[in-house]
């Protein structure tokens, strides 16, 4: 049995074997991976696993070889690779029927829905995140929460926060911590913090890997190509995680989302959220802010930035974001 890295670009044979193995295991040959390894018995590929950032995915073992516990060396090799990259935390996204195999390898379930289980291993883990939330917790009678990417922070986001403040005594704003958007996590956090600096009732928090993240909701970042059925599963997982693991810590009673006229993926997300939260948390869908009968969206701001149309940008974002964007112009245009 030999462990090898698979290079799809230069090895079409390995790629075909890999696709065949995954199909046999009932998985989609998802090519959005950074690193793939395979276990060979002679010329036969008998087991495979991949990494995408710190997410273990596309794991399959040939049905003829399942008696050998090939999963252990496979996962160990992937964890070693993450270790080399100083990444001490890994996720696995799998079906409930295979979750026990991963649990036997030291993974812990973060959240589960009827079709999907998200497991993690290493540190900083969900406990650490919950601890961080607990430290930032403010006593409240009716706390609200908003999750936003703020790419970049617009008047629409600001209006959403203000609407939430009208009914809630404390509003937690979770800013998505994934570097897959035009503006990086730090920039987006800064824009939100600047915009609400004068509001002591607003608490800005990172989501780390636990909300609308690569791990919980990868389709969000592939809005154009996302399969809506897949997005639905992921959205349900994300919503469940929020309900079970995050809202109880901060004593959140109310979740606010922006109405979504454009993106089907975000719409799926809002629908799933409504379904999962029913009867447990109040969900309010806030209609989009409109400027000149045009709904405000971050997409528009990015388009205006790309076209160097600062007049439009100024109309769509609060002054704090405008100054920030002006200051980081070369980056914003990249």
């Amino acid at each position: 049995m030999q462990l090898k890295r698979l290079w799809f670009d230069i090895n079409p044979v390995a790629k075909r074997q890999w696709q065949a193995l995954l199909t046999q295991a009932g998985l989609m040959a998802d090519e959005q991976v950074d690193y793939t390894i395979g276990l060979y018995d002679g010329d036969n590929l008998v087991a495979t696993g991949s990494l995408y950032q710190n997410i273990i995915k596309c794991v399959a073992v040939a049905t003829t070889e399942t008696h050998q516990n090939l999963l252990a060396p496979l996962i160990k090799a992937l964890l070693d690779r993450l270790d080399e990259q100083q990444q001490s935390h890994a996720f696995v996204y799998t079906k409930p029927c295979t979750a026990p195999y991963f649990e036997a390898l030291g993974f812990k379930a973060v959240v589960a829905t009827t079709h999907v289980v998200l497991l993690e291993r290493g540190y900083p883990d969900l406990n650490a995140y919950q601890l961080l939330l607990d430290q930032r917790k403010v006593t409240s009678a009716n706390a609200g929460a908003i999750v936003m990417n703020a790419n970049p922070f617009t008047n629409g986001h600001l209006q959403l926060i203000q609407t939430a403040l009208a009914t809630c005594d404390v509003v937690y704003v979770f800013v998505v911590s994934e570097d897959r958007s035009q503006f990086d996590t730090q920039a987006r956090l800064t824009m939100v913090q600047q915009a609400v600096a004068d509001q002591s009732r607003v608490i800005v928090l990172p989501t780390n890997h636990y909300l609308v993240a690569n791990a919980t909701f990868p389709a969000y970042f592939l809005k154009d190509q996302a399969d809506l059925a897949v997005a639905k599963e992921q959205a349900q997982l994300d919503a469940t995680l929020f309900l079970r693991k995050i809202s109880p810590i901060l004593d959140i009673h109310h979740r606010f989302v922006g109405d979504e006229p454009f993106s089907p993926v975000t719409k799926v997300y809002n629908d799933q959220l409504a379904q999962v939260l029913t009867g447990q948390l109040q969900l309010t869908v806030v209609p989009r802010l409109t400027v000149d009968a045009q709904p405000v969206s971050a997409t528009q701001v990015r388009q205006a930035l790309a076209a160097n149309d600062w007049a439009t940008v100024k109309q769509l974002v609060p002054a704090t974001s405008y100054h920030y964007l002006k200051g980081s112009q070369p980056h914003a245009n990249s």
Binding site: N69, I75, A104, G106
Partner: protein, 101 residues
Amino acid sequence: MQTAKTVTVGTMESSDIMITLKPNASGITIDLDSNVKKQFGAHITALMTEVLQKLGINDIAVEAVDKGALDCTIKARTIAAAYRLQGKTDYDWEALNSWNV
């Protein structure tokens, strides 16, 4: 000692134990997953605690995935994890041997 680092040693093969050390505010907490936990769980936990204490590590969270490792393996893996956590490679063999490992 306090540390922000995490280290992992060992494999998930049969007869081995994979030990991960993580920061912990105070005390030694051990989260053991073993297929012989019912029979030897308490023993394995006590053994790891003893080794860590002897090496002067009193505040640590341990995550161990045991696949039926023998005592000698558990000790060796724990020692290796502790040394790696502290970034030390100058194993004090005399002291280690004196515990009758």
